[in-house]
Structure formats: structure tokens, C-alpha cells
Symmetry: D3
Amino acid sequence: MFDATKTNRAYCGIPTFLRADLCALGGEIPTDAMAVLGIPFDEASPFMPGARFAPRSLREHSLRFSPQSYYDMTSDRTYLTDAVTGRAIVDAGDVDVVPVNVAATHHNITEAVAVLLAADAIPVVLGGDHSISFPVVSAFQRPIHVIQIDAHLDFAPITDTLTYTNGQPFRHISNLPQVQSVTHIGARSLRIREAEYRDTLAAGNRIVGMDEIRETAIEDWLGHIPADASVYLSVDIDAFDMSLVPGCVSGEPDGLDYRQMRSLLKAIVARFDLVGFDLVEINPQLDVATGATSYLGAQVLVELMGYRLAKVRMSELAN
Amino acid sequence: MFDATKTNRAYCGIPTFLRADLCALGGEIPTDAMAVLGIPFDEASPFMPGARFAPRSLREHSLRFSPQSYYDMTSDRTYLTDAVTGRAIVDAGDVDVVPVNVAATHHNITEAVAVLLAADAIPVVLGGDHSISFPVVSAFQRPIHVIQIDAHLDFAPITDTLTYTNGQPFRHISNLPQVQSVTHIGARSLRIREAEYRDTLAAGNRIVGMDEIRETAIEDWLGHIPADASVYLSVDIDAFDMSLVPGCVSGEPDGLDYRQMRSLLKAIVARFDLVGFDLVEINPQLDVATGATSYLGAQVLVELMGYRLAKVRMSELAN
Amino acid sequence: MFDATKTNRAYCGIPTFLRADLCALGGEIPTDAMAVLGIPFDEASPFMPGARFAPRSLREHSLRFSPQSYYDMTSDRTYLTDAVTGRAIVDAGDVDVVPVNVAATHHNITEAVAVLLAADAIPVVLGGDHSISFPVVSAFQRPIHVIQIDAHLDFAPITDTLTYTNGQPFRHISNLPQVQSVTHIGARSLRIREAEYRDTLAAGNRIVGMDEIRETAIEDWLGHIPADASVYLSVDIDAFDMSLVPGCVSGEPDGLDYRQMRSLLKAIVARFDLVGFDLVEINPQLDVATGATSYLGAQVLVELMGYRLAKVRMSELAN
Amino acid sequence: MFDATKTNRAYCGIPTFLRADLCALGGEIPTDAMAVLGIPFDEASPFMPGARFAPRSLREHSLRFSPQSYYDMTSDRTYLTDAVTGRAIVDAGDVDVVPVNVAATHHNITEAVAVLLAADAIPVVLGGDHSISFPVVSAFQRPIHVIQIDAHLDFAPITDTLTYTNGQPFRHISNLPQVQSVTHIGARSLRIREAEYRDTLAAGNRIVGMDEIRETAIEDWLGHIPADASVYLSVDIDAFDMSLVPGCVSGEPDGLDYRQMRSLLKAIVARFDLVGFDLVEINPQLDVATGATSYLGAQVLVELMGYRLAKVRMSELAN
Amino acid sequence: MFDATKTNRAYCGIPTFLRADLCALGGEIPTDAMAVLGIPFDEASPFMPGARFAPRSLREHSLRFSPQSYYDMTSDRTYLTDAVTGRAIVDAGDVDVVPVNVAATHHNITEAVAVLLAADAIPVVLGGDHSISFPVVSAFQRPIHVIQIDAHLDFAPITDTLTYTNGQPFRHISNLPQVQSVTHIGARSLRIREAEYRDTLAAGNRIVGMDEIRETAIEDWLGHIPADASVYLSVDIDAFDMSLVPGCVSGEPDGLDYRQMRSLLKAIVARFDLVGFDLVEINPQLDVATGATSYLGAQVLVELMGYRLAKVRMSELAN
Amino acid sequence: MFDATKTNRAYCGIPTFLRADLCALGGEIPTDAMAVLGIPFDEASPFMPGARFAPRSLREHSLRFSPQSYYDMTSDRTYLTDAVTGRAIVDAGDVDVVPVNVAATHHNITEAVAVLLAADAIPVVLGGDHSISFPVVSAFQRPIHVIQIDAHLDFAPITDTLTYTNGQPFRHISNLPQVQSVTHIGARSLRIREAEYRDTLAAGNRIVGMDEIRETAIEDWLGHIPADASVYLSVDIDAFDMSLVPGCVSGEPDGLDYRQMRSLLKAIVARFDLVGFDLVEINPQLDVATGATSYLGAQVLVELMGYRLAKVRMSELAN
């Protein structure tokens, strides 16, 4: 969709992510592409709903970044050069959400991600509330480690009646046979139940709290995952300090600042083989009018794409 | 909860409806009371969610009316005198919503309404989105006629995947054996599908469009329901013209003004035995900051209660 | 402040009403001027406060009208020509509000209005909540009739503890010796207490409800006030239908539309000697983001000024 | 873009208008199609800017209508059947706005519309502020009549410094050689300057005020335009009563209700050859959170498309 | 009110604080309970009013925490276990505010707190604006020290006209005979007047500015209060950095982050006998739509309750 | 305008900056005064417009500070004593913005600033978007250095069509003959294009990124400007971390906190001869409802004025 001869102000044009080409799921996904997939689902929200509008809002704010590349002044490096025009990034549109039918919606999600994986694409998932991570991860066949950056554990017990809320996805994920480990980074909320804490540790998972983040090195928390392992990363925007995410209903104090997040994203991409990622829990309905939370989320996604593609290119050069 | 020795400003106090006593569902519901029941459910919302907060908001705005009575200048009559202190109105709290589990939530709704009906109370239901009317009406055992005041028909076909959205409740209701008829008043939206229109007529139901409302008399549209029949009334706030309901996501132009609504409410109470009613589709998350839509909704409920209790009293006097 | 050589976009410049000259109260008020006086007081608000910001907001929206004149297409007449440049309109700034000290604030209000009256100016008062009308009217010495256009009566009983809320000003006003009558136009709220209704009638006042407005002629409701009597007019913005005033906390359904209001304003100016007026209960904190309610309020004021000055000029010509 | 096998909730999917196919301007526009063109330009806004986001918002709200057809219960007719799938409606995306360069932006607008006209398409233009109508109309080569439904005249004098504000487009348009007449319908604002009024009449144009709309028949106001003449229609959303358009900065009281607008749209399509139309002055930044003003605007466009295509089909059948 | 058999989503149910039992002030307050008391008063607000809605909003957001306990991952401790079901926490409802009558309201506040103190309860006060701390503290009979965490000193001179604004409470408090000292923590605003600063020091009080907080240890600032002294704590939400409190009108830059606040709260509870506390100056009318400021306030209260009850239990065990 | 006998609540009175006297540009500007000049222009905004309302909003929030002086507790110093009453600060009103005519607006800006400079006043400029800095700086005749505190460089290439957006002003400024250097402090956005970075360095300018700010001393970054040089300072509010400026459309993460900004402002005033300054990019239309961003901006301006006048006085004393 990008046309370099135009001015391309962010308020102009049909919004795909970064003005990437819109690709239907049936066959045109370029191999190895980062394929953006929206999942506008928020029926599992525990308090104020509205995250269903985040895929649309993230795409709109992504247009504030140049589709041609971005420049990181600090490292004097340019990222994403020609990624959009060269179809290293495409937009696969949204999953079809079936209202009040969580089974059908989960089925559609898993199927859509499976199509992307079958094309050897890297799914870049735009939530939605956090419940969507479970059907997304379910689509992966190969063994993966899951890293969750989040103020909460989302590891609530599963009961007969409460099964697919956004407090439970990582218990479901931890139970998947292909998932080797779950690592919770940034957990700190007083709303985490003790049972969640005990159960995820008992399941062999790893929790990294804010004190650890402040006082120890990243290698200390990520050492339990083998280097170059396949990693799926799930970023809940509430991992950030609540002052940075006014449009996130589950914002919590004492969270990550941007530099901490950036270091973490860089380290994860550098050490592991990032095979997919999601960003969840932005609620544009309730955000401040400038859309600051969506902008921040779009930047996280753009940087992750940048680091991931830079790594691919370096490794291509190395061959 | 009401204490006549206090000033009772609307911003003071724990908000039950009209400061009525809070009654648990297990046994303390006074016979013949109007029992307010909140159903904070909006997972079936087709566009912007948030109606789950309406029971809370309706109760808060109800406090702007006096719990001691209200006076209608036009008719020089006083309504609801001693209704709250005499427990002719009580607040039964909210139904327990089970997130992302529509079956469990519907079960809880039907059960809660059944408890009220078992106590010979009149359920005054605060939605939620319109999907809640189906499990509410399901609780009625005796034959009833259903009147829906709404810009839409909510009679969408039921499919394997789409079953309990807020576009379908009146098809479900129409299929209930105890429901003798459904009367749709105020239907006008361009989003009504032709199939809905044909199917509800085919099912023997009645549609009253805006032209009929403007040009013919109420008796013309309600004559198909026997006098003194048991009637359940469901009011979607979008029946009003959209200019009156900025906090309703499904607002439509060319709707009812307040006088038309009031005439309708009065006529329905006068002609029939109103055995329960609901008010749905107010979204306080998205309303204007003055909460105008919740205030309007609270007034509709207060008037309906007033007319219903006045009728009871007159008939009591007549005996 | 008006400079005709400038473009004068509404968002430019220090906002006095209609860019009129700012006149300190001590002596520079031109004789016979309409003198705008802000009373940013809302401590008497019964629900959501914020009307204290209305004087500022009304001045800002007044700048959307031309300071040079306005043209009424329907009557093909031009109003307010040279009123600002000729200092027939001036802005006297705001009354000094003393927080949490209603006696001191009332004193300041009455004194400020008295200064304007001493200069033979016509006070054009920008509220504030409706409680401010009492200290304003208190400043008048000569016999006056008071007309209140309002959805409510504001005639609540005065008790030891509740004295100066915005539900009581017209009882205070009715008790003032110089006030010959109070006429309540547009009363309709279900929140009017029966005691208010009975008491104001008992005091010899007149109520004009919506049915009367719709079905009878203005002369029928205003006939009890002698032609050419001195009249003070108090307009509560909630007289309008609530759909027109989203930024008014006390908005009520079934209210005046704009044409009804305009007819009323014209009739009052034509029949009586309008010696002052106020506009109250706009809450800019809670208005829709376009400021629609303030704009509507500013237009009401501009029209009233236009009619009042047109009458003066015609009578000047007649001499 | 429309896929009938999906649920297609309005919050899902990349938003083109009605999920119509996105067509680049260079050649793929189907002949005789209605081609939606966004012009996200608001630099000419006289008060609060933000209308640049209306094309995006109108597309999003258009998704609430079915892309398969819409049903009008009143007339028992179905409109737009297969219009999207049959490419009778396409979306041509947005004009490239060049910031702070009105000449370049106007050039881009005129050129884009010219491309559509060259393809024999009917431009369906989504503003933007009202200044965009001038460069749009400039693209027409054949003689046309222009009808403007608007609370204002937008016929302000053109000066050396003030040239392309949104107060002036219809003076520019009236000066175009291909424009045979301008008809202003709904004009009523007190902010209309007398010079505008006199000048447009002097130019041979026609003004239809609210009294005329209420008291006379449509044929009385449209009779000066020859039957079947080519007509370009420009709808300013502020033609509606301000209570219906909280997200329009220039809203005015005493405006059109929806039925009046609908009658007008039907009459214009029925009598004339509608060769293009625009809808302007919705400001989504400032609208109520439900987006009511955008929804209303989308409905106006959908109805206009429906009437226009129905007429084509009837005439096709007639041949 | 808490029913452990329910799902208890935060949007369900009549909101008392943490779903604690609602206890009327006349006699049912359990001994030693923490008794929540709302004071919905904001007439003393110096700029934008609206804090009157904070008791309601704080209760609503408190429901996001579990009524059964909360778990602190860092210390691996559980707090508030059975506090609600065991009635160690109750909700005493709201003080009756008498509008525009500060004397009557203050009287009601002092009386309500006195009732709680007479029952040996610990008042947990939900403001309102900061002026309410004076009538609250007035109810204490025994000698107490007062600690204020606040960006301001609120120690403005008292004059004939300005007496009970929210700029003056701590001067009134400092003058109370039972108050042994006032300690101002977090003071930093440029709006603090020099006279306030000089006067509070002259009265023997202690100011702890942000530099001291950053550079010295808590014991350095609290050493002047005897260990185990009775302490009343007043927390103005503006003590936090303004980035954390978008819904606080008096937010100031360079404030406390959450960890600093938490350390402070823990230290105060650990060292002293906390006999009551308040949280003030949250304005839900103006907060971001997610209610972030109310959530943060609720968390401060929940933690304070947790620390206070944990201390009681430990000391009970020690006996 | 300031009257010390009044209470002067921030919501009272016609808002000039700090209640300073309003001085027309034609001659009454006191020599050496700090002259506040509003430039309500935002047509160059690249995303969401609305900064045109910032001059009005900054003036309104300035009233929350005392016009008589402000006290800095940390340094135990009082600033701005008698500055308003002694006319060391005046308000020169707003530049006349000519809509959709950037040349005319720029001309008016440059001319207005030139008038202030001719009076030996120090312009204190209230933007507006950042494009206004170019016509402001153009008015200076003597050699100056320009310091820009900003998350961006605003040094985009100038093309035939894109010339005066808010991404370009510092390239224009850098090209002015009187400008000796441009120093960009706080640059960090990923939206900075590499070309901007390379070009400004190539032009001999200096960039100070966030790492440098955190790790090196101010003298390290300002050493290239001669001591006591004439400096014009332009502060983009987005230099602050985005958590502090919810009402700034271009907010970016990882920005300055308030203490860093304050140190910077003090250092700049101390080292150089500050000959003028601006504050830009606050968007009150989109700010949180408390107006936090405007308040923060007003405080930056008040402090800058305080430091600047304190320096003047000290140097006066030294003579």
C-alpha cells in the first residue's frame, strides 16, 4: 500500500500496519515475512472492555513511523530499510471474531496463526485482551519457550465455569505439550493470587519480579532458556509503569520504564530465535485523546520488528 | 438504606436503586415488590462494549430522584409515595456474571429472575446489552406477551456459530413456549436485515414502525394483545432518538421523543398486567460526562415503577 | 479590545465577551451599556460541579460571533451594529468568588451588580450555578418582575441547614420586597417536589408548563405582568431539551427547542423593560468536546442583547 | 475486501468504506462505480480542528452497515444489493494532503477527482472541512448545478489574505464557469454575514432557509434547477440540528431532523442526475465517545449511494 | 456483602469498599475494625471541583482487589486474610454532606468520626478535597501526631473571609490542642507560599522535601515523633508524581514514585500506632477513562489496611 | 489586571498570563519587560491538531500561580516579586493568525516579535505548534544561538511542496544568518530521520541525546556556546517523558523528568543572555481533563521568567 511518491501523513490512507501490503491468509504470505495479524477480541476482559479496537488503533499509530526505515540515533543504525516495500513485513488483516462464542473465535485464531506458520512467517499479533495468547500459542507445533512481559501472571486456576478469562492464558499455555517453559517478567501486581504464584513455580516456570529487574542482569533471568531456542514473546502493555499507559485498564504502579523494556526486547531477540510475538491489553476506547498508549504499543512492535529483521540480515550475511 | 433525616445528596451514600433496601435473593424479597436486578453483562455487544457498567450508573442516577415520592406536575399526581420505605421497591443486587461463559451467565440470570418471580415480585431488570432479555424472559412460567421498544428487531437468524449476540434475543424469546407474541415498537434502523423483518412477521409477531407511531393511535398497535394480559416489557434505550442517548452505541436517528415514550409506557401499564421489565443498552463508559443517558434511563424506570405501583394501589382500593 | 483590522479568529486573543472593552467596576461603565458580569460560582451544585468555568467558556464561544453585528436572515435585520465598538456592550469581568464562604460571595455579587445598576447599565450575568440569581436580584432596588425559564422551579423550602443551594433561589427571590412576581416557564422535571409547586402558587407566582407552552399563546402566560414592567430574566440552560445541552448536569427531557426559546426571548423583550438577565448551569468541564452547550448559551446571550439594544434604538428613534 | 464467509463484525478488518475493494486511482476504477474518496484536510477550520480524521472514522462506522445490502422497512425495499461485491462501489483511498500547502493539496484533490470522473465514476467524497468542496467541484468539466445542504452559506468575501478558509468555498464555486447555480439549503446561522447573503443572491443563487423547509414543498425550492440536470451535492453535517451532531464544531440550533434530510436526499436523487457528492465537517477527535456523528454521516452516505444506485438500476431496466 | 460462592467481577454488585459489610454508624461497628467512611465533599476545591465523587469511585476500584486477601510477591506474605469476612474491615457509608453549609458538614464529619472512635474503630477516610482532614482530626480526643504526605503544605493563613478552603486544613489542625506535631512529607509545589513555609516551621512542625526524601533515610525525617506514638496519616494523592495521578487537579511534577510511597507507608505503620488515615483529592469526574487515579488510591488504602492489620496480628501473637 | 484586594481564584477573571497587564503592541510595552505573546497556530501539525488553543490554556493555568511571587522551598528563594505589579511582566496578547495563509501568518508573527524586540522586551512566546519558532527567531537582528529542548530535531529537508511543517523549523532557523548555532537537547524519537541527524551535524550544530543528558554534565553540552552569548530557547513540551505530557501529540518515551528540565533551564539562564523563549506543542483539546499538560507548561514558563528576572536583578545590583 505504501507509495513513496506521496506525502503519507499519518492521518491519510487506509491503515495497514506501517502501510504494509495487505495479504489474504490464503497463500500470498511471503516466506519469512513478519506477518501482522489483528485479533480484535476483548470478551475476556475482567473490568472495562474495549481492547477489541486496539488492532485498528495500533495500525493507525504505526503510520506515524516511516514505512521506509527508522533510525536509532543512539546506536547510529537504521532499521527496517525496505522491509515494507520488500514485503519483509505484510499485514494479514484481522482474525474473524465470532461474538459470544469463545470456542469458535479460538478456533479461528489458531487456524489463522497456523496459516502464517505454514508459510514460515513470523506472526506479529495485535491483541485484544490477553486471553488471545493461548489460541495463538496453540498453533505452534515445534517446541517453544514462552516469555511473558506483564504486571500479572495470568495463571489463575481453571474451573468448570471460569476457563478462558484473561487471567488464565498462561496456565493453559504452560499445559501445552510444545511449551517448554514460561517466563513471567515484570510481575508485581497485588492482584496476583498466591495460588498463581505457587502453581507456576510448581510447574517449573520462572518469575522475574521488579526487584530482580532492577538489581540483577538480564542474563540472570533468561539463563534457563537455551541460547537460540525458539521463543514466543507476549507483551502485555501493563508491563510498563501505569504512568506510561493511561489507556490500559490493568495498569499497575512500579512498572518498567521504556529503557528497561527496550533492553529486554533487544536481549530476547539477540539470544533466542523469536518465532512470534503479541502485544495486548491496549484499550483505545479509554485511552487519552492523543492515543499515547497506542503510540507506545506501536513503537514496541516497530522496534521488535526492527531487531528481529536486523538479526535475520546479519545472519544472512554471515552465511 | 434510605434515611429521611439526612440530606441525601445524590453523590452521597452506597448506591442502591432509589436508596431501596438491599435484599439478598434468598428469601427476603417482599411479596409484590418491584425488585431491581442488575445484569452487568455486555459480552454480546456488536460494536463498542461497556454496557456492563449500566446497572451501577443507573443506580447512581436514580439517587437524583427522591426516594420518598415524585410529583408529576402535569397530572398533579404524586407517585411512589412510601414505596421505598414501605419496601414496595427493593434492590436485589446484581446477577453474578461468569465471564466468557455465556451458558453459566444465562443460567445465573434465569435463576435469579425465577427467585424473584417465586416471591411474586416484579423484576425490574437493569441491563447490560440486549442479549440479557432472553434468559430473563426464560424464567417466566406463565403465558406472557412480550413488548419490545427498540430501534431494531433483534431477530437475527440463529446459526451454529452466532447464537447469543445482542442481535438475536427476540428470536429466542419468540420461540419460547410461554411467549404468546412479540411486539416490536419503534423499529426503524437501516441495519435491520430483511430476513429479520420477514421472519418475525412470519412468526406472528407485530412490528410498529415510526410512521405508525406518528400517524396512528396506540390502541391500533396494541390491540392484538388481550386486555389485562401478562406483559413483559423490554426497553432498549436506542428506541429514543439518538440525540437523546449519546451514551448508547446503537443510537439511530428518527426515534421516539420523550413524550411518545411516556405515552407508550402509560398505555402499556394501563392496559396490561406488567409482570416485569428491563432497560438495556446504556453504555456509561462512553456516555457524555454528565451521564445524561443514564439519567434518562433512570427516569424511564422510575416512571414505569410509578405507573405500575399506582395501578396496583388503585386496584387495591377498588377491591 | 476589538480591532477591526485583524482577522480575529475565535481562537485568537484574550477573551472578553464579544471582544468588548474590559471595564473595571469602579466608574468606567458607560451609561445604558449592557455590562457582562461573570459569576464563576458552583459550590451550590447539587450533583456534578463545574459550572464555575462557564463565564470563561461563554466568553470564548462568544468570539465565534462577530463583534461588529449579526444578521438574522429570517427577518432580514442586522443586530448589534457597532455595539461593541460604541461601548453599548462592555465586559465588567468576574465577581470575586470567596471559596467556602457563601455569605462573602453573595455580598460580592450583590455589590458588583449594584455598581452596574448605579451606572444605569443592564447587567448581563454569566453563571455559575442557579444559586447566583438570588444575590443578583437582591441588588435591584426598584420593583421588578422576575421571569425564570427553567426545567425546575428552584423553589425548595428553606431550612436551618439547607439555605443557599441551587434548588432554592427563587423562593428567596420571591420573598424579596422589590419582587412583584415570579413566573416559572418550562417547568417539567419529575424532580420538582410537590411542596415547591404548591408554595410558589401560594405565593402568587405563575407556572407555565410544557403543555401550556405547546398549546397556548405567549400572551396567555405573560399577561399577568403589566406591559412595560421592569423584568429581570433568568435563563437556566436546562430549559432546553436535554438533547441540546449535553454539558448541563440538570438536563431534562421534553424541553424547549430553539425556536420556542427564541420566540419567548423576543416576546419578553418586546413586552417588558428588560433590566437585567442571567444565563446559568452550563458546565464546561463536562460538556462535549466541541463545547456545544457553551456555544448555545453564548447565542442565547447574543440574541438577547440584540433584541434589547434593537428595542432601545427603535424607542430612541421614536423620540 | 468483503468476504461473505466471515462474521464481519464492525470492529474487525481493515476499514475501507462498506468493505468495498480498494482501488488505486491509476486505472482500476470500474466504470459507473461510486468511488469513495477521502480528503483528510482540516487546515481551513475556523475554530477547533480535527475533521481530518473523518474519512477514517466514516469508513469505520460504515462497517456497521452490511456490505451486502440494506433494507428500508418503510418502503419495503432493499438497496445496495451486490453493490460492494459487484464493484458498483469501490474505495479509492485518500487524497495525499500536503501540509501547510493549500495550493498543492488543492491540486491533488482536483486531480484525484478528475481521475474518477475520467473513469465515469461518481465521486463520493469524505471531508475534511468544507473548504475541500471547491477543489472537488473544480474537477468537473461539464455544466453542473451545485446544491449545498448546510447551516451556513460559506460565501464569505475573498480577500488578499483570506482566500481558502472553510467560510469561502461556495463563493469560489459560484465563480466557476461550469457551475450553473448554487442552492443553499438549511442556512440559518447567526454567524452568516449579511454580505454573504446579499452576494450569493446577487450572483443568481438560491437560499432555502428553515422556515421555507418547514412551510413549503421541496419542489418549490428545487424548481429553478432543470429536471435531470447534473447536480453535485455537498452536505455539511451541520445542516442537521446541533443535537444530532455533537461531533461537529459548527453545529447550530434549529436545524434539520433526520426525516427532513432523508426527504431532501431522495428528492434530489429522484429529480436530478447526481454526479458526485461530499459529506464534510465531522470532527471525530471531538465527537462523543460512541462516534454518533460519524455513524450519522455514514448513514447519510449509505442512503445516498442506495438511492443513486437504485435510480441507475431502474433506468437500466427501463432501457 | 461478600459472597465467596460468586465470581465477583469488579463490575458486579453494590460497591462497598472491598465488599465489606455495610454498617450503620449507630452501634454495629465491630471493635478494632477498620471502618471505611466516605466524605464526598469538594466545595473547598480551589480550581476544578469533582472530588466529591471519589468515595464512590474508590469503592468501585477497591472491588478489583480480592476481598479474601492479597498477596505480596516480594515479601512472600499474604495480607488481609479474612479481614472482610471476619469484619476486621467494615464500610460505614458516607457522611451526610450539607451543601453550601460548611459548618453543618464539618459537624457531621466530626460526629461520624467520633462515633467510629467511640467504637475503637480505625477510621479509613475517603475524601473529598483536603479540607475534610480538619473536621476528621477534630474528632480525636487523645494526643496524636499528624503526618501529611502531600505536594503542598495546606498551611495558608486564615483570614476573615478565607477560612475553610483546601489550602488551610493543616493550619487548623496544627492549632488543635490534641495535635502534638504536623509532619509534611513530599512538599514541593511552587504554589506553596513562603508564609506557609515559615509559619509551619515556626509552629514547631517538620517539612520533608523531595531532596530529603531522595537523599536521607526515613528515620531521619520521622525521628522527631516518639516511637509508638498515636499517628493520624493524611495522604493527598498529589504526593505522587503528576504522571501517576492524571485525575488529580493539584498534581505537581517531581513527586513520589510508588516505591517511595510504599516504603513510607510501611515505615509509618511499623513505627507508630496508626489511629486513622485519609486519602484525598482524587477527582473521578476528570480522571482518565480507565480510572487509573482511583485505582492507585484504592491500592494505597488496601496496602495501608494490610500493613495495619498485619501489625495488629503480630502484636496479638506476641502477647 | 491584577488586583491584590481580591481572592483571585484561578477560575475567576479574564485570563492574561499571571494576570499581567494587557499591553497592545503599539508602544506601551515597558522596556526590559518579559512580554508574553500567544501564537495560536497549529496548521502545521503533522498528526492531531489543536495546539492553537494552548496560549489560552497556558494563560488560564498560569493563574494558579500567584501573580505576586513564587517561593522555591529548595533554595529558600522568592522569585517574581512585584514582577506583575511592576510591569516587569506584561501580556501582549496574541498574534493575528490568518487561516490557510502561512505566509501572512508568518509575517504577522515576525512583525509582532520585532515590535517587542524594538521595545527591548524579552518575548515569551506561547505556541502553537513548533513551526512558529522559525518566524519568531526571524525577528531577531543580532547574532544569537538557538537552543532547542525537544524529543525531535525538526530538521527535515525542505522540498518544493513541504516547506513550513512543524518538522522543519530548525532547518530554516539554522539557515538564518543571525543564528550562530543550533543545539538540540533531548532528541530521542525513532521518528527522527537519519537525514535530519546527518544534516544538522553537517551544519555545525550540536545534538545532545538522552544518554548524554544522563551521563555527562551540562557544561559538556553547552560549552560550545560562548558564555553570556545571546540565546533564544525553544522548549517543545515533548522533551518531557510522555508520561508527563498526556496532552502532547508528539510525546515520546524515555524523556526528561522535571528535575532534569529544571537543571537545564537554570543552567541556560545562568550561563547565557536569554533574549527570548517559546513553549510549544501543548494540545489542550486532547489533554486530560485536569489540564495537566498546560499546567506543566505554565510552570516551565513561570520558572524561566523567575530565573531570568532574578538574574537581571542580581546583575543590576552588581552594577
